[in-house]
Point group: C2
């Protein structure tokens, strides 16, 4: 491959990743509405991050999602009103509080993920096993190449 071909391959990869990003975001919006019309999709992102990563401060959540604090603060208020999270004292810093996912919140995260899993299974129905395996291997390698140093 010449340098120009290589450059083209990168651009095609970037383009497919962009399409993938939009498809997954679109799907997440639709699934989140099915699971609960009252929650903003971005709030599900926060809920999922808390379910996987454990309790966090609001400021750390904002940092991680690249959102400003007023956005995160509004989403936290919304999730708290729905009983999906609660604020608990931070054992490391008495002046500060952590966001904690409630049992109801975990149930909601699992429901969304199960719906996503069913949808992915449906989309892959006609795929040969070997192609799924190859895609998994190459995505794992891509993730490793993209990992922070």
């Amino acid at each position: 491959m010449t340098g120009a071909d290589r450059q083209q391959a990168h651009e095609r990869l970037e383009s497919e990743l962009g399409v993938l990003w939009r498809r997954v975001r679109r799907l997440s919006v639709d699934l989140a509405r099915q699971v609960d019309a009252g929650i903003e999709v971005a709030s599900y992102g926060l809920l999922g991050a808390l379910a996987d990563g454990g309790d966090l401060r609001a400021g750390d959540l904002a940092e991680r999602f690249g959102l400003d604090k007023s956005t995160v603060s509004r989403q936290i208020t919304q999730l708290e009103a729905l009983g999906l999270i609660q604020r608990v004292p931070d054992p490391m810093d008495r002046r500060s509080r952590l966001i904690h996912v409630t049992e109801d919140g975990l149930v909601r995260v699992r429901a969304l993920r199960a719906a996503r899993g069913r949808w992915l299974g449906e989309a892959l129905r006609d795929w040969p096993d070997a192609d799924i395996d190859t895609l998994v291997v190459l995505l794992a390698r891509l993730n490793s190449s993209l990992a922070p140093e």
Copy 2:
């Protein structure tokens, strides 16, 4: 492959897609800060969607991103104050206005995308050409399988 193996392959794929999602989001946060510390990353998403898709109403942007209108409205105000978008009359509906990306806004979107392209090129430096091609082919097929009916 048995049904259980197949299920496992789906779960591995879902897991790798999840990691990819978080890596790309993390990177987008970092790159957006490099390009301009004053813009929320989510606002870059809006700016990019407008640059690609043409003028939209604020309500359509909110719908597409699964954000509530108050969030989008705040981001639009931020982007407008920076001169990256402007509100223009909607030729189809005189009571309504469209969000339009300014020339400065397009420059900013291109700068962010160029930075992302350089970063991807760097990450793929050690990849054999054939693997990049295979990944592009499989991602294109995945995107097609994931396309709305």
